[in-house]
Symmetry: C2
Subunit: 443 residues, 2 copies
């Protein structure tokens, strides 16, 4: 069949448009695709990337532990055997009356049911200089940019040791949540295991890794015992943990803290907050904290039978009265729930409310060290938690091939203390100039 | 030891500076490093990338067959166990009187002996529009840029099928040497095996892969039988082979050929020529064709006892009176030879002339198909040549881990007809905007 000859107008099947191929959207589309043999449905999945990004492992790409391709999976590849149309594009608006979503390339998609699963993005809370000078860690290019930058700092001080006094080897991570804990631990281990061997001329005692958290403890949602464990484990690895400290401003060559200290640095990584995808702001729907869209118990938009919001984009109240956290398990369960509700509605059955089954959370700190808080009050620290973390992340990782590749990388890193992916691959070569050094100390 | 405290002045060992970590430079440094236990030598290897690039497989990265990190290897990682200092930087000049090379970051390196192994770069021969509009294939970012672009063309025609008439699915490869043959075959297979399954709405009969060669045959240095075999094998895969045809000009939306035809296209890949690294032009030495530096039989600069030039940068005449081709085996053998001569000179022995042992050349065309012309007149076509090609490239690939990764990718691709690395990872995200679609149809 030729492009453009798709029987758009003649296809009478109920058309579900899913916006976003993160954990939530992927699960909506996959489960609907499997149901489509029984229930006549046309399914279209739209995403602005051609790949699903496994965001929990971005920090390992940033610290040279994993290759970027291992944590992404072609969206088209995932739906080869399911009746799901994939479309590359960014949804920029919705026409509720016409039941149509609008794409940035001028095209649009008519829907009978729409599921918004567009996720979240980094939020700078208006703090001066964050958007200009800080590194974010949300997509694969962010991780590659940070990896290039980290590795380049050590190369720069080989030629210009005076840059150490200007903070070239000070690495500041903003935000003491799981991402900040994992990233600062991983940077400390990169320095200890890799930089020390790669750069015998660099005194790694001059490296500072500083983790800054506004609240009085790391890992705010964890138990106090786990919080203390994380702090101690990071400090043992040489990370300076600064709780009760806010970032006042980020500048090109330093960061200003709320206690008045200024740390000279070329590297601030911002993991301190997320807000809903800006798409949430143009849907014309009621929004809660962080811009998330308020939804009813069955995850539908209040007052609309044909629209669901799921994952990080949705504000859903759990049984404890708190809004559910922006985590992969929540997104996965919500995606599956919405697919089931769409099938029920097509069969004329009523929807069921969503209930989150919390099986626990985990954060890794470093080599053979992690924290796991599981169901029934089980708390693990250390090696066993780390093994659980490895297993769970392999399980969640999309694609058999990626699992093999990641397992191989982890085994290699574990056995050799090495990081294979430590190439500086320039992301922004100047046009018509293949000499990447011409960029100098770009950020 | 702290940075800056290196005993530069007090180190009385003979200092060899090797410029370039390609096949030639890597082999000089490795062999010298191994000899340094017997012969007191200080060795410094300078490269503008922090990794060695295995250029023969760049076309596989560009066509989503291999992940980029598999064909690069950290230079520092290669020299952890050898007494070789690694320096990231671009050499921009030499002061022959002071015996010093100058780096782009303002630093310089004093040498007792210098080996220039800075390689070659793409040459556009002054043809209009090549440097502005054509894709090159020399470094990993080039390959990633081409991969993103190729994959994006198919995504674009999903939304805008009218772009097919404007040439969105016309892919033109300029140059019928091994790289052009391998790349055009790989694009044709990408379309047949991957695009057809990923994009069921796209009519792949509309795809054109055109290989343009100025001379009257592909693979100019091969036998006529091999040349004919390559042409037929490519044509069977749907590649249009246009010999006796020159590229007159490349424009943003078309390419003009010497026979007057204009092919509308957004994709011209330039593999039609190389010239010596621009460093050759500032050394003040006599240059031959393509800017290559003329050297004596022992690979030294005529009239200088302390300077060698090797690899693609050097013009060396073989026993048949022809200048040796710019191939990996030549570079490897020259690198080893120069290391040996430096050791001989340190021992007060005379240098020996370089003799190239030609063990043959190979080019792959596609799945289970290649051409090999080996020593003693052995010519292989088809499966056996392909297996030889696989084995040889695994052998030349630097690093045990890379070999395992590449072998794994090849096995996966062979068994599944799939290409794992088909992620569009934006190289040039607009600052402060993580929406990569905002770039539109960037080239």
């Amino acid at each position: 069949m030729q492009v453009g000859e798709r029987p758009e107008g003649s296809d009478r099947r109920h058309h579900v448009v899913v916006v976003g191929a993160g954990f939530a959207g992927l699960n909506v589309a996959r489960r609907l695709g499997r149901a489509a043999s029984d229930t006549p449905l046309r399914i279209t999945l739209v995403d602005r990337h051609n790949h699903h990004t496994f965001q929990p492992l971005l920090y390992q790409v940033a610290t040279a532990g994993l290759e970027s391709d291992s944590i992404g999976h072609s969206v088209r590849g995932l739906f080869r055997r399911l009746p799901v149309d994939v479309r590359l594009g960014t949804v920029v608006g919705v026409d509720w009356d016409a039941r149509r979503v609008e794409l940035d390339d001028g095209a649009s998609l008519d829907f009978d049911t729409v599921v918004f699963a567009a996720g979240a993005e980094s939020a700078d809370y208006g703090i001066e200089g964050v958007s200009e000078h800080a590194f974010m860690l949300k997509w694969i290019p962010d991780a590659l940019r940070l990896r290039n930058h980290l590795l380049r700092q050590f190369e720069r001080v080989e030629s210009h040791p005076e840059l150490i006094e200007q903070g070239a080897l000070n690495f500041v991570v903003a935000g003491g949540g799981p991402t900040g804990v994992e990233l600062s631990g991983a940077i400390a281990e990169l320095v200890e295991h890799v930089v020390q061997r790669d750069h015998p001329n660099v005194d790694i005692a001059k490296v500072r890794v500083v983790l800054v958290e506004m609240m009085d403890a790391l890992l705010g949602t964890y138990s106090q015992a786990s919080q203390r464990y994380a702090r101690r484990a990071l400090e043992e690895r040489g990370v300076e943990v600064r709780t009760d400290t806010a970032i006042e401003a980020v500048e090109a060559d330093e960061v200003r803290l709320s206690d008045g200290e200024r740390i000279p640095t070329a590297t601030v990584v911002w993991t301190a907050g997320v807000r809903a995808n800006p798409l949430a702001d143009v849907l014309g729907l009621e929004q809660g904290k962080g811009g998330r869209v308020k939804v009813a118990g069955d995850l539908r938009v209040p007052g609309r039978a044909d629209a669901f919001v799921v994952g990080d984009l949705a504000a859903v109240t759990g049984k404890d009265g708190q809004v559910l956290p922006q985590l992969a398990p929540v997104a996965i369960q919500q995606g599956q729930h919405v697919a089931d509700q769409i099938v029920r509605l097509r069969r004329g059955e009523p929807t069921a409310p969503f209930r989150y089954r919390d099986r626990g959370t985990m954060a890794t700190i470093g080599r053979r060290d992690a924290i796991a808080e599981l169901a029934l009050g089980v708390k693990l620290h250390g090696s066993l938690a780390w093994l659980s973390w490895l297993g769970l992340h392999l399980l969640y990782l999309v694609g058999f091939r990626n699992r093999v590749a990641v397992l191989g990388n982890w085994a290699y890193a574990y056995l050799t203390y090495d990081r294979a992916a430590r190439l500086i691959i320039e992301l922004e070569p100047p046009p018509g100039d293949d000499d990447d050094r011409a960029q100098g100390a770009h950020r």
